[in-house]
């Protein structure tokens, strides 16, 4: 894989930021989009647009077929058994809200427990908090170890007879820790508990095989996976989608509507009320093809190399403290610099065209635990190069100069 060729596929890198080449190190927040995805949205709107699943005219049939073909691509990409196990949502956040809401409605009673981890970002905590308020359930957190990892042990310790569902991230967006999903699923299932995986960071960086992972729910964010915003995927084992009640009501998800009662549509329509983000779903197919063309194994290898290089370069710098030291780590590197607040780092780096994120990364629970109100985070994507890391390191030195640390 020639990485410089891949960068060329992303039009954003043709632009300058404050007269500098863009060094984009914020892919964990959202990834940039390859030309094929951008063009697909334009083409769909200019040549093929219609609403899907309703009318019988030529455009409607063609658009419906395109929309459904993304579902099949996704099914194959993550090795789901049935295309109806793929539900389109507006993002991973909505996917998790869908599960929390419908599972909570049907299966959770006062005093029941939902087990999360301290690594979860807010999308996999706040939806469960709603149930804490409405149903008086309890939320427990498996604790991180000093390396910023969640071990199988830390999860097992918190499972009680009241635990009704477990929700864990696949890959931490702060420490980069990759969780042992397969083992967690085995453990959960041995106790009859379903497992939800927040795949926001996992999906763009790791090989996904639902038969191998064996989780019950897997939430995916399209815009972090080189796709458009406004599109996410909920993978759920079919038995859950059959059993759980619908999430939102409206057109498209119904079978028969009478004054006295309403019956709901079959899968996957049951969970896709209203007009969906049609163009985005169709363009997302191009993201999947793009990832398949490069090969997720190659992406994993490339990002691992970048991570090793960045850890080596930044590790040499005495004033930099890298947050977390997980044994299995994805392309996320959070750090602090003694004497400079992360927001000041981000502002100074930005002037050089280096885009990182600073703050709590929607993980306030974790930041409180590690005693840091904020961290700076560089996260990698398929388009990053070692030269990007070199520029990061150079710009960090500039921060230190401005703050008179050197």
């Amino acid at each position: 894989m020639n990485i410089s060729d891949i960068k060329k596929e992303f039009p954003i890198f043709d632009n300058k930021v404050h007269n500098n080449d863009l060094v984009y190190l914020d892919s964990a927040n959202s990834s940039q989009k390859p030309r094929v995805v951008i063009d697909r949205i334009y083409d769909f709107y200019s040549k093929e647009f219609s609403n899907v699943g309703r009318s019988v005219h030529y455009l409607a049939v063609a658009a419906t077929n395109l929309y459904e073909s993304t579902r099949v691509s996704m099914q194959k990409y993550i090795n789901a058994l049935d295309k109806n196990e793929i539900v389109f949502t507006k993002g991973a956040t909505e996917a998790i809200n869908l599960v929390a809401n419908t599972f909570g409605q049907k299966y959770l009673e006062e005093g029941d427990e939902v087990l999360l981890t301290e690594l979860e970002h807010h999308s996999n905590y706040v939806p469960w908090h709603f149930l804490r308020k409405s149903k008086n359930i309890k939320i427990e957190f498996a604790e991180i170890n000093s390396d910023g990892e969640i071990t199988l042990d830390s999860i097992e310790k918190k499972i009680t007879k009241k635990t009704k569902i477990i929700g864990v991230t696949h890959l931490s967006n702060v420490t980069g820790a990759i969780l042992p999903i397969k083992d967690i699923a085995k453990l959960a299932h041995s106790k009859g508990i379903p497992l939800l995986v927040d795949g926001c960071q996992g999906a763009p960086h790791l090989k996904l095989d639902m038969q191998d992972l064996d989780c019950d729910f897997y939430a995916i964010s399209g815009h972090k996976m080189y796709g458009p915003t406004g599109i996410g995927i909920l993978y759920a084992k079919k038995k859950w989608l059959d059993e759980l009640p619908p999430y939102q009501g409206g057109g498209g998800m119904i079978k028969e509507v009478k004054k006295k009662d309403i019956s709901y549509g079959e899968l996957p329509n049951k969970y896709e009320a209203g007009t969906m983000a049609t163009a985005q779903v169709i363009a997302f197919n191009e993201s999947i093809k793009f990832l398949e063309k490069i090969g997720i194994e190659n992406i994993e290898k490339h990002e691992k190399e970048l991570m090793n290089y960045a850890t080596e370069i930044l590790g040499k710098n005495n004033s930099i403290n890298i947050v977390g030291n997980p044994k299995k780590k994805g392309g996320v590197l959070s750090f602090t610099i003694e004497g400079i607040h992360p927001h000041d780092i981000a502002t100074i780096l930005d002037e050089d065209g280096v885009a990182i994120r600073a703050g709590h990364h929607c993980c306030q629970i974790l930041h409180e635990k590690i005693g840091l109100p904020a961290t700076a985070r560089a996260s990698f994507g398929v388009y990053n190069t070692k030269a990007d890391i070199d520029q990061l390191s150079k710009s960090i030195e500039k921060c230190k100069k401005i703050f008179k640390l050197i």
Binding site: H343, D344, T347, I402
Partner: protein, 154 residues
Amino acid sequence: MNLKELYQEIILDHGKNPRNLRKTDNFNKDAKGYNPLCGDKVHVYLKLNENKKVEDISFEGSGCAISMASASIMTDLVKGKEEKEVKEIVSDLLNMIKEKDELNNKILKDDEKTKLMCLSGVKQYPMRVKCATLSWHTLTSALNNLEQTNNTEN
């Protein structure tokens, strides 16, 4: 964009060694401010005497150089002023950061105004304006006896 204007000597100095970073004994007004976007926190304590003069002002908190320097400079300038004057300085500062190019109040001396104008560098950095204004909004909340945490959304 001009980083030198943003990170002026005086900002770096106050950011590194904030003045009045402590808790006033026997304070009679206080408020907490929080910027949910970046996690900056500030708790402002005031002691107003019977003539409504600021006998002491202090703050506790953590944040970036801009927010710490802004809080530090604020406490320095507000001490000894009357409540009415404090409110005028606050609104002058907020206006200066939001729209105007200068300070118009007649309360502060020229050298004090120069100090305060150091915060004008954030104007070029819209994402950082809230860092500079957090402590000032919080001071207003304290004076108005507002219980709720000020979250800089106004």
